[in-house]
């Protein structure tokens, strides 16, 4: 404000702008109840936020409206950003879609714009000035909310991916010094790297001598991942463990042969049972039935 005082004679623009802004905010605050009602009506007509009850919509609409006006008044978006993140966190688990969130914010923008039209319709020049102030701020708020929503969604997706990845790669000890690594589903290079890491650390912590890598649950893999598998087998050897790969599908077998894997370095067995039996032989176990199997 110090600067505008220096320009008193030249009819400082910032002065009139902030005055208009004050007027605008005062208008929106005094008509809060009517405008909020109108907005909620439009939300209901547009069949948005159907996952939420009427009371919930009312409560959310009130706080959105208030932070909207506050953002216009203070011309800062931080509070709005924080609120948008918070709101998204609450409504995403309820299944609210991106188009709904963007939709309600745009509706609010339209409702408020219409009320400005009707207030200033007699003076087109003033209306234009008011809209010049209102529009950029309103658009910035809409963008902030949309971005906040999408960001929150992406955060959740990332979190879930992480969880799935951790769940999907167990390293299990089946006998003293014998580990199995059952791999199920699609392997991309990120997951392949993670598998390797878990296996190698598993070998060290369990002091494993033999590892059975079962890929029955993997339908196909590309050459990069197949190569990675070979590297994993080699790395296990450097740690003093033998790896047996079991359950290769015909497609994977072809891929491995096509990329020219040295099969002398890679132990394979037809299925998991065969792999475990082979591993037991290597470790010196002999498994035999204690008696005749019980009649079923």
């Amino acid at each position: 404000m110090g600067l505008s005082e220096l320009r008193v004679n030249s009819k400082p623009e910032s002065e009139s702008t902030s005055e208009l802004l004050r007027e605008l905010v005062a208008h929106l605050s005094s008509n809060r109840a009517i405008l909020r009602e109108e907005w909620i009506r439009r939300i209901t007509t547009a069949r948005l936020l159907q996952a939420m009850s009427k009371d919930e919509i009312f409560a959310e609409a009130t706080s959105v409206y208030d932070s909207y006006v506050e953002a216009l008044e203070t011309r800062t978006l931080e509070a709005m950003q924080a609120y948008a993140g918070n709101l998204s966190e609450r409504i995403i688990p309820r299944g609210v879609e991106t188009n709904e969130v963007v939709g309600i914010v745009l509706l609010l923008r339209d409702v408020l714009a219409r009320s400005l039209f009707s207030k200033y319709h007699s003076d087109t020049r003033l209306l234009n000035t008011v809209l010049d102030i209102y529009e950029p701020a309103a658009n910035a708020i809409a963008i902030t909310v949309a971005v906040g929503f999408v960001r929150e969604r992406e955060r959740i997706i990332r979190q879930q991916q992480e969880a799935i990845r951790e769940l999907s790669t167990p390293v299990l000890q089946v006998r003293e010094r014998l580990l199995i690594l059952p791999i199920i589903g699609l392997i991309d290079s990120l997951r392949a790297r993670q598998l390797t890491e878990q296996l190698l650390h598993g070998i060290r912590t369990n002091r494993a001598k033999v590892v059975v890598i079962d890929i029955t649950g993997v339908a196909a893999m590309d050459a990069t991942v197949a190569n990675h598998l070979v590297l994993t087998v080699e790395s296990a050897r450097l740690l003093g463990a033998k790896a047996i790969v079991t359950g290769l599908s015909p497609e994977i077998a072809q891929t491995l042969v096509n990329i020219g894997v040295d099969l002398g370095k890679m132990n394979t067995a037809g299925d998991l049972q065969g792999g475990i039996e082979e591993a037991e032989r290597m470790l010196g176990y002999k498994v035999e039935p204690m008696r005749e199997p019980l009649p079923a």
């Binding site: 390797t196 890491e197 190698l200 650390h201 070998i203 060290r204 002091r207 001598k209 590297l231 994993t232 080699e234 790395s235 296990a236 050897r237 450097l238 740690l239 003093g240 463990a241």
Partner: protein, 122 residues
């Protein structure tokens, strides 16, 4: 830094304790090849647990050591390669193909003891 070489029965144990320069590795190689003859050792264990990097020179020299010691009548076992180091080595194609590797010192000794036993039985 020089690598200490300990005599343990019929075996020699070299424990690398910090990152080595190329010259240190060559010195280790020469010392091992010489001492295997002096102590009539049957096996050598090189413990690399402390190394968090193994480059192509180190790997190549260890491979050479294993080949030379075999010609001098001793078996070489490399123990204690870290998981990350193992994967990095394999990625660079440094697979130590004809060298025995074991998880740690205990495993290495176990392997050499068994190898000795089966050699006596023959």
């Amino acid at each position: 830094m020089q690598v200490p070489i300990l005599k343990q029965g019929p075996f020699l144990i070299a424990t690398i304790q910090s990152a080595l320069t190329d010259a240190d590795i060559v010195q280790l190689r020469d010392a091992l090849v010489e001492q295997v003859g002096r102590y009539r050792s049957r096996g050598v264990i090189i413990d690399v647990t402390a190394l968090d990097v193994m480059d192509s020179f180190a790997t190549g020299t260890l491979q050479d050591v294993a080949n030379m010691l075999r010609l001098r009548g001793a078996e070489t076992v490399i123990v204690g390669i870290q998981p990350n180091v193992a994967f990095a080595m394999v990625h660079m194609g440094l697979t130590l193909d004809r060298v025995t590797t074991r998880l740690d010192l205990e495993e290495g000794l176990d392997h050499l003891n068994r190898a000795m036993k089966s050699a006596f039985q023959r």
